[in-house]
Amino acid sequence: MIAGVARYKEMFRQALRIRLVEEKIIELYPSDKIQSPVHLSIGQEAVAVGVCEHLRREDLVFITYRGHAFYLAKGGSMPQMMAELYGRRNGMSQGKAGSMHLAAPDVGVMGASAVVGSTISVAVGAALAARLKKKDQISVVCYGDGATEQGTYHEALNFASLYQLPCLFLCENNGLAVHATLAERQSYKIAEHARVYGLETIRIEDGWDFTKVGDVCGEVLKAIRGDGRPRVIEVLTCRYKEHVGPGEDYAAGYRSHAEVQAWMAKDPLCTDTALVQALRPALDAEIDEAVAFAEAGAMPGIDDLLTDVL
């Protein structure tokens, strides 16, 4: 691991890279070049960056429709992702996937699902295969706080714990499912609930702090690599944009803008403007290239329509 300042800078760069990609998406959106729902991670980047710091290429992450951050942090190709959002043939899934279904198996980004909670047990199954095939590999599943309300979550925690499989349950708790708050939806505390299954569970409150997230994830992943047992991390985080789409919807009144502003006041990507300035040019160039790659892509056509069905 790169020590101290260098590490901070590198993680910052990763997080900023994600944010700038998503800001580019916001900028492009009115052009209708991206005709697909986009669930932005702006505000939540530190989670992906923190976990991925300690993941190896062969480790797997199972993600959701809100998947840009994890895809990029785990090493997915930015140009191919942009082309995928554009619905082009040079996207990694030839436009069949779009923003909601990012994947890059070559770097361990397993497919994102847009059905809430549906990848949790899938990740457990991948861990089962890792165990049986004696792979030195961790299976990480990222899901939102809302996903914990699905029955499948209960089933998957139980299965993973029973068989003591090498997986990490990573809950990105942004306090919202679409527009509903935790209090409207949950009678339990996520971390406490997970512990009932005999799963060691850590809760990170400062989800804006990528180094802190990285530290904790580093420890936990090391433990999983050591004993092959499943663990849970809950990270509190904050989504700055509307649930889906490029806008802000503070005016809708379902949450307080002040709370988000308080979070932003701690978010290095908002506060460390000097570093943003320093890193931005290179990142902007990379992003522009990705956009150019996407724009140059051919449209998929009738020859693609019925391939890969079976």
Binding site: Y29, D32, Q35, S36, P37, V38, G87, R88, G91, Q94, G95, K96, A97, G98, S99, M100, H101, S113, A114, V115, V116, G117, G146, A147, E149, Q150, G151, A177, V178, H179, A180, E184, R185, Q186, E242, V244, G245, P246, G247, A252, G253, Y254, M299, P300, G301, I302, D304, L305, L306, V309
Partner: protein
């Protein structure tokens, strides 16, 4: 059971004005249900939020305190809750913003709701409604675009409807709440929500749970569902100028299609085209073919033509999605070939390639 025509009183213009969008009709139906029937409740994810299930129930939770109920992200339990509430005196309306999520509730719908009455020899009934919205366009992709009517219509005990007009919504939802003591599933098409209808232009609905003739014609019978009814109407209007006269049956009742209406029409026209919103295999296309094949296939003067989604999951890219769903041109060509026996170069085909370009108001992000 109550799936046969009842004596229908006229709909007040307050509930159904001369011009009205599909969404407005849904909103009117929901408000009516809560206003006229004390025991009606609405249960769903996002039921109390500011978007109000695409604007169909916005604000009702304030107007009817305690009767519009948010649920956690727990489709299975929410459906079970509705069944239990129905067993104990309520009329629950359960909403899903995508029909795809109905798969998480299917155990409750098929193994429980559909069977409660029969399995106990009539001791129970489960009056409830499930609203399933079919997603389409703006990159809904494979998991937000399914049109799962045939899965439910295969199961005895369920009534499955697909309204295609405001009147059909207003009539059938009111009938369900007031007169049918069993589970009713309605599949609403998201692409139609903002479409404004001239309500008088559609023939009046006589059987709320039945099929409707939307256009009388002599050359070909088009049996269509949901948004494909509107496409069939558009195609027919275009083709009428060339002397092709289509009869259009709005199937509407997917679980209890009007066999006689279909057979009478096909006996007259000799030609049948089925246009559905889902896959052809084991879908509406298949079921309508069964009706004809079992009744009298001899009336067919040509093979049946079927249109639906391509046999693949739905791709996200617009370029592919436009190929995935049949468009107006596909439909018109199919009709022309069926009626004339071949393409007819004299008939001008629309240039439009994508249905969503026509139903323009549908634009992301949601």
């Amino acid at each position: 059971m109550n799936i046969s025509p009842t004596n229908l009183s006229p709909i007040s213009s307050e509930i159904m004005p001369a011009r009205m969008s599909y969404r407005e009709a849904l909103a009117a139906a929901m408000r009516e249900a809560l206003t006229r029937h004390d025991h009606t409740v609405i249960i769903g994810q996002g039921a109390t939020d500011f978007k109000g299930i695409f604007g169909t129930i916005t604000g009702l939770h304030r107007e009817f305190p305690g009767r519009v109920i948010e649920t956690p992200l727990s489709e299975d339990a929410a459906t079970g809750v509705c069944i239990g509430a129905a067993l104990n005196g309520l009329y629950p309306i359960n909403t899903h913003i995508r029909a795809d999520f109905g798969l998480l509730a299917i155990n409750q719908l098929v193994n429980m709701a559909a069977k409660q009455k029969y399995m106990f020899g009539g001791l129970f009934s489960v009056p409830m409604m499930v609203r399933l919205v079919i997603g389409r366009s703006w990159g809904q992709g494979a998991q937000h675009s399914q049109s799962l009517q045939s899965l439910f219509a295969h199961i005895p005990g369920l009534v499955v409807l697909m309204p295609s007009t405001p009147e059909s919504i207003v009539r059938s939802y009111a009938h369900a709440v007031a007169h049918h003591a069993g589970p009713v599933l309605v599949l609403e098409h998201r692409l139609m929500y903002e479409l404004v209808f001239d309500t008088a232009m559609h023939p009046p609905v006589t059987n709320p749970f039945g099929s409707h003739i939307q256009r009388v014609g002599k050359d070909v019978t088009i049996v269509a569902t949901s948004i494909m009814v509107l496409e069939a109407l558009r195609a027919s209007a275009n083709l009428a100028r060339y002397g092709i006269d289509c009869e259009i049956i709005d199937l509407h009742s997917i679980s209890h299609p009007d066999r006689e209406m279909i057979m009478t029409s096909v006996a007259k026209t000799g030609k049948l085209l089925v246009a559905d919103t889902s896959w052809l295999a084991y879908g509406v296309a298949a079921e309508v073919c069964r009706i004809v094949a079992e009744s009298d296939p001899g009336v067919l003067k040509a093979p049946v033509v079927t249109l639906g989604m391509a046999p693949a999951p739905c791709p996200t890219a617009k370029a592919l999605e436009d190929l995935y769903y049949p468009n107006l041109r596909d439909l018109m060509s199919a009709i022309v070939r069926l009626v004339r026996g071949a393409d007819d170069p004299a008939i001008e085909m629309p240039s439009e390639h994508s249905m969503s370009d026509f139903y323009k108001k549908f634009r992301g992000p949601f």
